[in-house]
Each structure stands twice: as structure tokens, then as C-alpha cells.
């Protein structure tokens, strides 16, 4: 099913934001829409967006490649993106990340064996006063978690795991 068939209302709303002769502007919001289900943009979706906006697939792919919040591969259902940039690192972010990974038994960039969570180290998220902090990216969007500890994070992962099971059942 094409994007426009799957999300007719959203596609229409997105296109309405920009002048019709500049509909190329809609490529970024449409890519978020395309990422909703699987957490990454597949080739079919790129084709879809290209034909919606009169672009080539290459032009759409270039956008996916340039911006870090678009993904071209499937990873964990939730991407836990820990800020380890200078201000957060001055407040223990590196240590937090190391401890978290240790607890989960995975390395940065890896996914928990159940495919639930991928741990990533990212650049500044504009929450420098509330370190350690991370954002959780999933198909549903992004959520900030601030002033975190490893224990609180493990609890969060447990909650996410449960909610996934509920959806499955």
C-alpha cells in the first residue's frame, strides 16, 4: 500500500503546509511518516515519496542519508539515544552510558537480543542542564527522558517491553 493510501489524511495535511509549486518541502515530514511503521525508510517508501513530490528516488534517498533521524536499516523498536556531548559529559553522561550498556550486556550501537532497544550515543539534544538524559526514537516519534539514572532507565525499558507484549497479545 502506498503512503498516500495508508495515511491519506496526514499526507494531505503535510502537503497543505507548503506552496504547491514547492511541494518538495514536504519530503522531510513525509519521511517521518514513512518511518512510522518499521522505524526506517524502505526503498518502496522512497519511491512513493519521489512520485508524490515529482522527485527522483535519488533525491529522496539523499535526504535520508544526510539527516541522522532517518534510518535506512531496521534496528531495535526503540532507539535510546544518549547525549554524550560536552555539557552532558561534564555531568556524567559517559559514565551513565557505560553503566547502562554494561547492565544491558550490549555495546553502543547494538540492539538488545529481543530487538527492543538499540543504544546509541548522540550529539547535543538541548537538555544540557538535565544530564544524564536521552531521547527515545520510535515510529511514534521522539520522547525526552531527563535527569536519568541507570535504574530509572532499566525500569523504562521494562515498561517498554511490557507494552510491546501487550500490543502483541
Amino acid at each position: 500500500m502506498s503512503l498516500a493510501e495508508k495515511y491519506p489524511k496526514e499526507v494531505k495535511q503535510i502537503l497543505a503546509k507548503y506552496p504547491p509549486e514547492h511541494k518538495r518541502s514536504a519530503v522531510m515530514p513525509l519521511l517521518y511518516l514513512a518511518q512510522r511503521e518499521e522505524g526506517y525508510v524502505n526503498k518502496a517508501a522512497m519511491q512513493d515519496i519521489a512520485s508524490l513530490l515529482d522527485l527522483t528516488e535519488t533525491e529522496v534517498a539523499s535526504i535520508v542519508g544526510f539527516y541522522t533521524l532517518y534510518h535506512d536499516k531496521k534496528e531495535g523498536k526503540y532507539r535510546m539515544q544518549v547525549c554524550t556531548d560536552l555539557p552532558c559529559a561534564l555531568r556524567g553522561a559517559d559514565q551513565f552510558l557505560e553503566n547502562l550498556c554494561g547492565n544491558l550486556g550490549i555495546k553502543v550501537g547494538e540492539t538488545t537480543p529481543d530487538g527492543l532497544v538499540t543504544i546509541e550515543a548522540v550529539m547535543c539534544l538541548a537538555a544540557c542542564d538535565k544530564a544524564p538524559m536521552f531521547q527515545v526514537q520510535s515510529g511514534d516519534g521522539l520522547e525526552y527522558h531527563e535527569n536519568m539514572t541507570v535504574d530509572k532507565t532499566l525500569e523504562l525499558i521494562e515498561t517498554l517491553r511490557k507494552s510491546r507484549q501487550e500490543v502483541k497479545e
Partner: protein, 825 residues
């Protein structure tokens, strides 16, 4: 002049048009500011930071608006604290520029950029295709640091053989991210099928199109690439640039007449023969600028085909056997003279002007006919109302109009497609009149769709009122390009007449940048028409029972009906460069030299006569066409010039009015062209060759000579009405086809693919055919099985049949078409 600006570069004053970039102003006075991302055919990007210079501007007194003067009465110059890029700054009055030649600061800045580039660039010049013609290599040798401060072990290692498509390979290590290729595809070709992926040091060129790098202009990216990152599948590891000889030539793939350089080398791999290693564009700003389409660049291999005829053949005991030239010529002369009353010459636009002139003279001398082997007519009208002196599609823009009718230019003449598109980009009113959607449509101001068969009506409609008609009539200059989409000889001739009439009615003839252009199937069809060759409607009837001299044509291979006609001819002499189905039917076969092996001239569709020169020695005991014709004529008792092409041309110009005043020396004249390319500074325009061998010259037109143009009445063409169970089959042209000049190119095999016919969805549904299904086509009594494609932009009841794919359809015909019973899995 008001629009000129005077500035100082490296202590030299220079005056250039306002709006000129500093880098170009410097180039004009011979100062090469090194560049990587800047290319004179593209908008400046300012990204490589190679062209850093010091720029000073005169200080202006805010109160008076006058320059502030120093104690010597000279304007005070305020220097920018930072170096600036010469490619993004336009000249300003009184500006002072110091390049690397006079400024240590500029030189340091440029050296810094080279050093930065080299941190990631590999040191594989000894095995790089660009080695020897690489600006980065040259700059490194000239100015680079002697020692690398970047640790070799830190060097990035990336994939070195990434196919972007069948034709272009990317070496990711060598890429310096200048974006010239990406910008060429998006800004020049308007086909953004390659782009950047990722960012920062991880930027890489990718193509997501299917097939990869899906553009007929892809080869140009390897010319503009300033390093060895993009190489062609054809030349990759083929030879070192400095081993190559260069010969000027003209591309023979279509009527545009692109200027090319054939690079050759003697090599062991080819048995010690001299062979063509690559075809490169040669600058002619009025024809192909510095570009070349992929067909022109990669489909030259046919001249080195194993099917080349290498010696004369004579039929003996119903078999063709080798013979000496004298035997073959005598035999041919006897056979033709014996049937003198029924003598017919059949020649194609693959021949040079000199060949055609001799053929025409022979036919006239014998009292026979000179027929042009072509399914497209109207050439007598392009000779009358065609474009002439001073015409340059590159000069058309705002206020001008271009009308393209019954032609898919992208497939038929890609460089014209590019030039017409660019005229539209510059503001010219583009009107596309075609029965189906083509790649030109999206650049058109007006698109007129008609049903196959209604071409003439569609064009005649533009004579009247309405905004399209008025836009055309009121245009300062107007050019019409007409083709043969869906048409045979009769239809295209009628269309040409309608177009000529429209141009004449709107006063768009006899002036530069006005007139008619035929999108002919062959390189020199225009020349053949100029010399008086004419195609005939019922060719089979003209061949039956005649003594036929066929030159550079394969009627038997194209159409079974013509093969049959030839079989019942009295005597057949065939002269060609390749073995064909027609040579098999010949009584005498005379082997000719290819255009790569001799000299001559072609007349382009824009009526520009251009010279080509020998690049490789002849393959075998073969002779140039004009010489063979003269030798044969002598055997038949006629004296024609056959010793030199230039002498034949001199005779031609004396007897053909539109050629008057031209000679080989004049055709070899060059003038300074902008941009300046092909000199030592290869970084500037890329590896396109400078034109040192001639820009050619335009033919005059009857209208241009001030003669009254008497246009023929537009004949009405009977439109076909297919029966209930039939479809209207129409011939269309595809760029990469199975024609003899293409099919030998292995590189293009994937692009050629297989024959496909095209149907409207409703027709397909009615027949129970789905896209990709194989269908049975009843054509001229024969049956062919081909795959079907669906296109909703064509009308129902029509089936498009590709030319030169072995499906003999020379004009619109009613055909039967059935879905092949689907095989159950």
C-alpha cells in the same frame, strides 16, 4: 560600454562584461586560478575553496559616494581580511584581485586546500585513469607539500569500484566531493539521478535510479570530474591518457553532428592494430557545447566489428567469393551498364556529402534515379526554409519560441533535447506537440496532445488564433523541430510541409535562429536532401527488375518486402562497411572505409557542414566511398573526381547553391570559444577537447539568400481506420536500438534490452494483456513475439512499435495483435 567593468588582476587591467565572475575574468587574460568545484557551465557553488584569492575594493566616501583617494590620487583599496573565492565573486569597478601569482597569502590558502584534499585522497595516480590529465595531480606536483603531515595510517579506505550504473564507476577514495557530477545532472541535464548520501567526510555519490545512473548524459560526468573518481566502463583501465593520439571527428549516431575527438592507440590486445580507445566531446558551442550523449560516447564500436567487409566480393556459382578490386569494379560496371535504362542508386544518410555528390553525379550521368533510403521525408523543405547562417540553439531564450512536433527528442537526438530544454530554462517558449508524453513535456510552456495521424491538423491549428498560436507567431525567433514519431514517409513529408507553412506564415524563415529542422534518423540525411536525393513511397516497386547500386543501406535486413524486391532485381551492387542481409543478395560487394578511416564532411540537421578526419588505418583492402564511386563510374565511362575528398567537395560547392563559397579550409576555421577548455588547466572545463580542427559552416537557405520560397501545398494524408480486431501500429524511435551502429556495443547491451511494444491500458485490458506479457504481433504477413509495455499517455487502439528492432514497420499500418496464451506455472 556601460555594461563593462574594468578591474585589476595581478597588476593587469582587464575589462569584462558586468556580471563576470573573477575566476572567469582572470581566465580571459590567461591567468588560471585553480578550481575544483567551479565549472564554467554551472552555477558557482563556492565549496571546494580552491580558488581563494585576495580581493580589494575601492573605499567609497559615504557622504559623496565617490572613491576615497590616497596621497597619490589613486583610489584607496580596502582589503578583505579573509581570502575570498574567485568563483563566487562578481567583478566590480575598480576591484583589485591578487591571485596565487602575486599574493603569498592566496598561494598559502590554495596550498592549504590542496593539503586538505590530499588527506583523504589516495596516492594511486600510477593506476588511475585520470593520471596524466588530472588537475589534483598537477596541482600537487606544482604546489603540494613535499611531505604528508597526515599520517598515512589514518587514511580513509573506501570502496574503489562502485558501479553507479552500467556505464560509470565510482572510486569513493578518489572523490573530492566537489559535486560537479551531481550538479551537472541536476542543473545542466535536469536529471538528478545521482546525488550525495550521508554527510561530512562520509559524503558519497549514489544513484537510486533503476537502472542505475539512468541518464543518457552520464558520460559527461566523467569529463567534468576533476579527479579519477568517475570513470567510464568503456575506458576504465583501458589506456593511459598520454599514450593516446587524438583525431577530430563527427559523431555519426544522429543528425545533431556532435563534434568529437577519437582517442586511438596501437595495442597488442588488438593484434597490433591501432584502435579507438574512447570518444570524447570536442567543443563546438553552437552544436554540442562540451557535451556528448552516451550513445555517441559508447556506441562507436561498430567500426571495429567482426562483420566489417575487408575485401571486394563477387557472386560466382551463386556464392560470394573474394575478388580483386579491378575484377569487382569491372564486374559491377558491366552489370550496371547492361541495365543502363533501369539504373537506380539507393543511398542512405550514413554517407558523407562527397560520397552522395559522386553518387548523384553518376545517377544523373546514367540517366538513372538517386533515391534516398529513408522513411522520413520533407528534406527539400528544410533546404528551402531550414535554419541557416548565424543560427545557434544556445542563443535562444526569452522572447523566442521552439516548437517540437512528432519527435521524442530525448530518444532521437539527446543533445538537441538538452539544448532545447536549456532554451526553455532561459525563458524561450517551448511548445511540445506530440501524441504521447515525452521527457521534454515538463519543460514546455504548452503541450499539445493529438492522436496518431492528426499531426498535420495539430500543426495547422497553430496558424489561427489562440494563446499558443499567438505565442508562436509573436516570438522574436522561432524554430520548429519535426520528427517522424508514428509516421512514415508520406506522413512526415506532409508534416514538414505544414511546419514550413507555419514558419513562413509567421515570418520565421530566412533569418538567423528561425526555420525548420528535421530530426532525421541518420547523421547526413540533411546533406542527402540538399544534394537532391529523395526517398520514394513504394521503394519495393522501384527496385524490382532494376539494376540497383545500394550504398550504406540494408533494405533487405530492414524489411522482408524489400528483400523480396531485391531478389527480383536484375543486378545488385552493394557498397557498405559491414556484412548485411543486403550484401548477401548482392552480385558484387564493394567494401568501404568507415568514417573513422577517411575524411569527409557531414551536414547536420541544423545545416552545418562539418569535417571529419581519419583516426585509424583502414581495416583491410577497402576504399573511401567517394573513391569507389568514381572508380566504378570510370569503368562505366564517366569521369568523376575520386582522388581526394576535398576536391570532390570543391566540385560540389560549385554545383549546389546552398554550399556555395564553402571549402575545406573554411570548414577548418576556428574562433575563440567560451568557456576556454581543453588546455593544460584541465580542471577548468574538464577533459573535453579544445576545437582546433574546425567549427564547420552553415549552408545558406533559399529564404536566407533572399529567394522567393515557394512552399508546396500541404497534402492531406489519408488516416488509417483499423478494423474491429486490428490496432493502428505506428513506428517510434528508441535511442538504444538494434541498429547496426549500436548493436555491437556490448556496454550498451543492457540499455538496448529487447523490443517492446506499447499499448494504452484500456487496449491492454481489452486484449487481456498485462505489462511485461509477451504478445503476438502480425506484421506485414510475418509474426513476431514481443513484450508489451503500458503507457496511459497514448491513445487507445494504438500499438507503438520500435524502429530498428527487427520489426518491419516503415509506416503506420493496421495490425493484428494477440495475447500469447499464458503458460501455466
Amino acid at each position: 560600454m556601460a555594461n563593462e567593468v574594468t578591474l585589476t588582476i595581478d597588476e593587469r587591467q582587464v575589462t569584462v562584461p558586468a556580471g563576470t565572475l573573477v575566476v572567469d575574468a582572470a581566465k580571459k587574460i590567461g591567468i588560471d586560478i585553480p578550481v575544483f568545484c567551479y565549472h564554467p557551465k554551472m552555477e558557482p557553488a563556492g565549496m571546494c575553496r580552491m580558488c581563494l584569492v585576495e580581493i580589494g575594493r575601492p573605499m567609497i566616501d559615504r557622504a559623496t559616494g565617490q572613491p576615497v583617494l590616497d596621497e597619490n590620487g589613486q583610489p584607496k583599496i580596502s582589503w578583505m581580511p579573509k581570502l575570498e573565492t574567485a568563483c563566487t565573486n562578481k567583478v566590480e569597478p575598480g576591484m583589485v584581485v591578487k591571485t596565487q601569482l602575486t599574493s603569498a597569502k592566496a598561494k598559502d590558502g590554495q596550498n592549504a586546500t590542496v593539503e586538505f584534499l590530499l588527506t583523504s585522497h589516495p596516492l594511486d595516480c600510477p593506476i588511475c585513469d585520470k593520471g596524466g590529465e588530472c588537475p589534483l595531480q598537477n596541482l600537487t606536483m606544482a604546489h603540494g607539500p613535499g611531505k604528508s603531515r597526515f599520517l598515512y595510517d589514518d587514511k580513509i579506505h573506501l570502496a574503489k569500484r562502485v558501479p553507479l550504473g552500467d556505464l560509470i564507476f565510482l572510486d569513493r577514495e578518489r572523490c573530492i566531493q566537489c559535486a560537479r557530477c551531481v550538479r551537472f545532472q541536476s542543473d545542466v541535464a535536469s536529471e538528478p539521478v545521482i546525488g550525495f548520501y550521508n554527510r561530512g567526510r562520509s559524503l558519497e555519490i549514489v544513484s537510486f535510479s533503476d537502472p542505475g545512473f539512468d541518464s543518457v548524459f552520464s558520460g559527461n560526468t566523467s569529463d567534468v570530474c576533476p579527479v579519477g573518481a568517475l570513470t567510464t566502463a568503456d575506458f576504465r583501465f583501458g589506456a593511459r591518457p598520454w599514450e593516446l593520439d587524438a583525431s577530430a571527428s563527427i559523431c555519426t549516431q544522429c543528425p545533431v553532428g556532435c563534434n568529437v575527438t577519437l582517442n586511438t592507440r596501437r595495442e597488442a590486445k588488438a593484434g597490433g592494430q591501432i584502435v579507438i580507445k574512447r570518444v570524447m566531446p570536442r567543443q563546438n558551442e553552437q552544436v554540442n557545447e562540451i557535451w556528448l550523449c552516451d550513445k555517441g560516447r559508447f556506441a562507436y564500436h561498430y567500426t571495429e566489428s567482426e562483420k566489417r567487409l575487408t575485401r571486394p566480393l563477387v557472386r560466382k556459382d551463386d556464392k560470394l567469393s573474394r575478388a580483386s578490386w579491378s575484377t569487382a569494379l569491372t564486374r559491377a560496371a558491366e552489370g550496371l551498364t547492361a541495365n543502363k535504362k533501369n539504373f537506380v542508386v539507393l543511398a542512405s544518410g550514413r554517407l558523407a556529402n562527397e560520397d552522395l555528390y559522386n553518387l548523384k553525379s553518376l545517377a544523373e550521368g546514367m540517366g538513372g534515379q538517386a533515391l534516398l533510403y529513408s522513411d522520413m521525408g520533407g528534406g527539400e523543405l528544410t533546404a528551402l526554409a531550414g535554419v541557416s547562417e548565424g543560427t545557434n540553439l544556445g542563443a535562444l531564450g526569452k522572447g523566442d519560441a521552439v516548437l517540437v512536433v512528432a519527435s521524442d527528442l530525448y530518444e532521437e537526438a539527446p543533445i538537441w533535447w538538452l539544448r532545447v530544454k536549456q532554451a526553455a530554462d532561459r525563458g524561450a517558449t517551448l511548445i511540445v506537440v506530440n501524441p504521447r508524453e515525452t521527457k521534454l513535456d515538463k519543460f514546455a510552456k504548452f503541450v499539445i496532445r493529438y492522436s496518431y495521424g492528426d499531426e498535420v491538423t495539430a500543426v495547422e491549428g497553430l496558424n489561427g488564433k489562440g494563446k499558443i498560436a499567438e505565442a508562436f507567431a509573436q516570438a522574436r525567433n522561432a524554430v520548429v523541430l519535426f520528427g517522424s514519431e508514428g509516421l512514415g514517409l508520406e506522413g512526415s513529408s506532409a508534416l514538414a510541409a505544414a511546419c514550413a507553412k507555419l514558419l513562413s506564415n509567421t515570418n520565421h524563415v530566412g533569418r538567423p535562429n528561425n526555420g525548420l529542422i528535421g530530426v532525421w534518423p541518420r547523421v547526413n540525411d540533411q546533406g542527402a536532401f540538399e544534394l537532391g536525393f529523395q526517398p520514394v513511397t513504394d521503394l519495393a516497386a522501384e527496385l524490382k527488375g532494376k539494376a540497383v547500386y545500394i550504398v550504406a543501406a540494408d533494405p533487405a535486413g530492414d524489411d522482408p518486402a524489400l528483400a523480396k524486391a531485391l531478389k527480383s532485381a536484375k543486378f545488385v551492387v552493394v557498397q557498405d562497411i559491414l556484412e548485411t542481409a543486403t550484401t548477401e543478395l548482392a552480385d558484387v560487394v564493394l567494401p568501404a572505409q568507415a568514417y573513422t578511416e577517411r575524411e569527409g564532411t557531414y551536414t547536420s540537421g541544423e545545416r552545418r557542414v562539418q569535417r571529419f578526419y581519419p583516426a585509424v588505418p583502414p581495416r583491410g583492402d577497402i576504399r573511401p566511398d567517394f573513391a569507389i564511386i568514381a572508380q566504378l563510374a570510370r569503368e562505366m565511362g564517366y569521369i568523376l573526381e575520386g582522388t581526394s575528398a576535398s576536391l570532390v567537395f570543391d566540385l560540389l560547392t560549385e554545383s549546389v547553391e546552398s554550399f556555395r563559397g564553402l571549402n575545406y579550409a573554411k570548414l577548418a576555421e576556428v574562433a575563440e570559444q567560451w568557456p576556454i577548455v581543453g588546455r593544460n588547466d584541465l580542471y577548468y572545463g574538464g577533459t573535453t577537447y579544445e576545437n582546433k580542427q574546425g567549427l564547420g559552416a552553415h549552408l545558406s537557405s533559399a529564404a536566407g539568400r533572399g529567394q522567393a520560397v515557394k512552399l508546396p501545398a500541404v497534402r492531406s494524408v489519408k488516416s488509417l481506420r483499423p478494423k474491429e480486431d486490428e490496432l493502428l501500429a505506428v513506428p517510434v524511435t528508441r535511442l538504444y536500438d538494434m541498429g547496426v551502429t549500436v548493436v555491437d556495443s556490448e556496454l550498451l547491451a543492457n540499455r538496448i534490452g529487447e523490443a517492446t511494444v506499447v499499448l494504452h491500458p484500456s487496449t491492454a485490458e481489452k486484449l487481456g494483456v498485462e505489462a511485461g506479457d509477451v504478445v503476438k504481433l502480425n506484421l506485414n504477413g510475418g509474426q513476431a513475439e514481443v513484450r508489451a509495455r503500458i503507457d496511459e499517455s497514448i491513445s487507445a487502439g494504438v500499438v507503438l512499435v520500435p524502429r530498428s528492432f527487427g520489426l518491419a514497420l516503415r509506416e503506420p499500418s493496421a495490425v493484428g495483435l494477440k495475447s500469447r496464451a499464458k503458460v501455466k506455472a
